[in-house]
Symmetry: C2
């Protein structure tokens, strides 16, 4: 027994050594793709204060909840939300089975849109299109379609896979927060079942920590096997006022840190900021027309207008992608 225990302890010490060396070296610069400007300093100061057991601002591990918008915050969203491309591709793939779509808006609008152009449908219409196009399918069938698409579809401008258009500084931020005991969640207006098949691989965020818009589901038996069938009905829209509601329904406690990039994230940031104790709210501001895109108050995608004013008035952290990030993509 003693020998076994000694062996186990030896292995444990080695594992700890590796783990701690990693932590120590990361502690030297946990955010290497961030310039040493104000946002990075604010992030590190916040994390240090909530994890310092002697600090009056100490927050127990279980309450270290951080929520992240996805489109425009963790990955790019121009010239149109990537999920719109998915919807477009899906509607085109399914069109032969639906001759009526040729003349029925909003399907007809999508089908007549050239690949490079904006799609003149609202986010809500897009959600309805995706839901209508996939009604009757099981959750597992839909998951496979998303996995196949995300593994092959490429961005029309950069030619990259969409999952290669995630922001390297944000990946580092997610890892840094998790290394400090935070649980990281996605809270996105995008479809929950569009994100879950790849967020664990790409962001290290498991499906149970992804909150998004959703359609209704129905449990039923198909050939003696239980399935969850997708119904042609919206269940929840996780955008604007919906974000704090989605957070409460899924997480059941208020985040202490929230990260967004548009007016659609404002209510999530307000809800986060209004809790007791230390709080951290951050907006990613798209200011880099060379390495990414530059847009804010007048953009139809990811508009940041009211949120920018409120962030300035309340002293929230604003990341200028051009000035504060050394690298944008991986």
């Amino acid at each position: 027994m003693k020998t076994i225990l000694r062996k186990i302890l030896g292995a444990a010490a080695l594992a700890s050594a590796v783990a701690f060396t990693t932590t120590v070296s990361r502690a030297a610069d946990p955010l290497p793709s961030w310039n040493d400007t104000a946002p990075k300093k604010a992030i590190v100061a916040f994390v240090q204060k909530v994890t310092n057991q002697g600090s009056p601002d100490f927050v127990p591990v279980t309450e270290r909840i951080a929520t992240f918008d996805n489109d425009g915050t963790l990955w790019a969203e121009q010239p149109i939300y990537f999920q719109w491309r998915f919807a477009l591709d899906r509607v085109k793939a399914l069109a032969p089975q639906h001759p009526e779509w040729k003349t029925k808006p909003p399907f007809s609008q999508l089908l007549s849109t050239p690949k490079e152009e904006h799609v003149a449908v609202s986010e809500h219409e897009l959600m309805e299109i995706i839901i209508a196009a996939h009604a009757g399918m099981t959750t597992e069938e839909f998951e496979k379609i998303v996995k196949d698409w995300i593994a092959t579809a490429k961005h029309p401008k950069t030619g990259k896979l969409y999952t290669e258009m995630v922001y390297q500084p944000m990946l580092e931020l997610l890892a840094y927060l998790r290394a400090n005991g935070f649980k990281t969640f996605i809270v996105s207006g995008g479809g929950i079942e569009f994100m879950r098949p790849w967020t664990e691989r790409v962001y290290g965020i498991p499906p149970e920590q992804v909150i998004g818009s959703s359609g209704k589901l129905k449990f039923e038996m198909r050939d003696g096997q239980p399935v969850l069938r997708k119904l042609p009905e919206i269940n929840f829209v996780d955008d604007k006022e919906g974000k704090p509601v989605g957070i409460q329904q899924h997480i059941g406690r208020r985040p202490i840190a929230a990260f967004g990039n548009s007016d659609g994230d404002l209510q999530m940031l307000q809800w986060t900021a209004a809790g007791n104790g230390p709080r951290f709210c951050l907006y990613v501001h798209h200011t880099d027309s060379e390495r990414e895109w530059a847009y804010d108050r007048t953009s139809s995608i990811g508009r940041l207008d009211k949120g920018l004013d409120e962030a300035k008035a309340r002293g929230w952290t604003i990341v200028s992608m051009k000035d504060d990030w050394k690298r944008i993509f991986q």
Copy 2:
């Protein structure tokens, strides 16, 4: 630097030593309140096989999802669901502000029920009562009411706090699964906001791992502060066919182990059993009229009829509380 690293490593080794000693001693008997009968053996065999990296049945940590019903599975549910007591107490407390309830069913039925008696309302009506009684309140106000009630209200028969009527063997099972890398979730027909204020303290299950029935919420500003107001509308009923739907919406992947005690859990167990790879389904059968209660096929609370037949036909594990548990309560 070297000295700091050595100090860190020293602390790490100590921490590991403590952690591993605990694991080793627990490994001796992870489930001390269980008799050495078939259910305990089946649980241990399942956990060993899915955690053994050399086994063809090995399951990666991220997929070790276990879901537990609450009423009758983790705590008692007789003579009426404990949440019904809460509803009864709340309706009585709020009755002076609602003179119309005296004559309006189902409120009138609740108000005229003596404390010891069954309440002749359905679970769905109960949900509606709770939602109607608390509409307009914020989520934080409701949380405080639940916390106050659960800290003081006592079971009419045993005189114990309700949180003292949780099953010791199930607490050990939760801890055993978590020590083996499982993420444990509650999936209950009970109100999500009725459970979350105390599940972390009592079961070690944080709010984000509690799935339950819920009412709709609305984000709004009250005196310049954001609040989530409870609306008088049901959002989701997490029972029967609703359980797999709730699991998909919240967790987004299928459990590999599921634990219930009634026909209301059958679809959750079917959904769990139908996945690929090793699966574990268990029913707690209430067979101990002395130490707890004995009921199954004809009970109005926690009926276990179809589920019992299916469990036997499919070889799921059935726990007889009388024969398989050394102790019932803490």
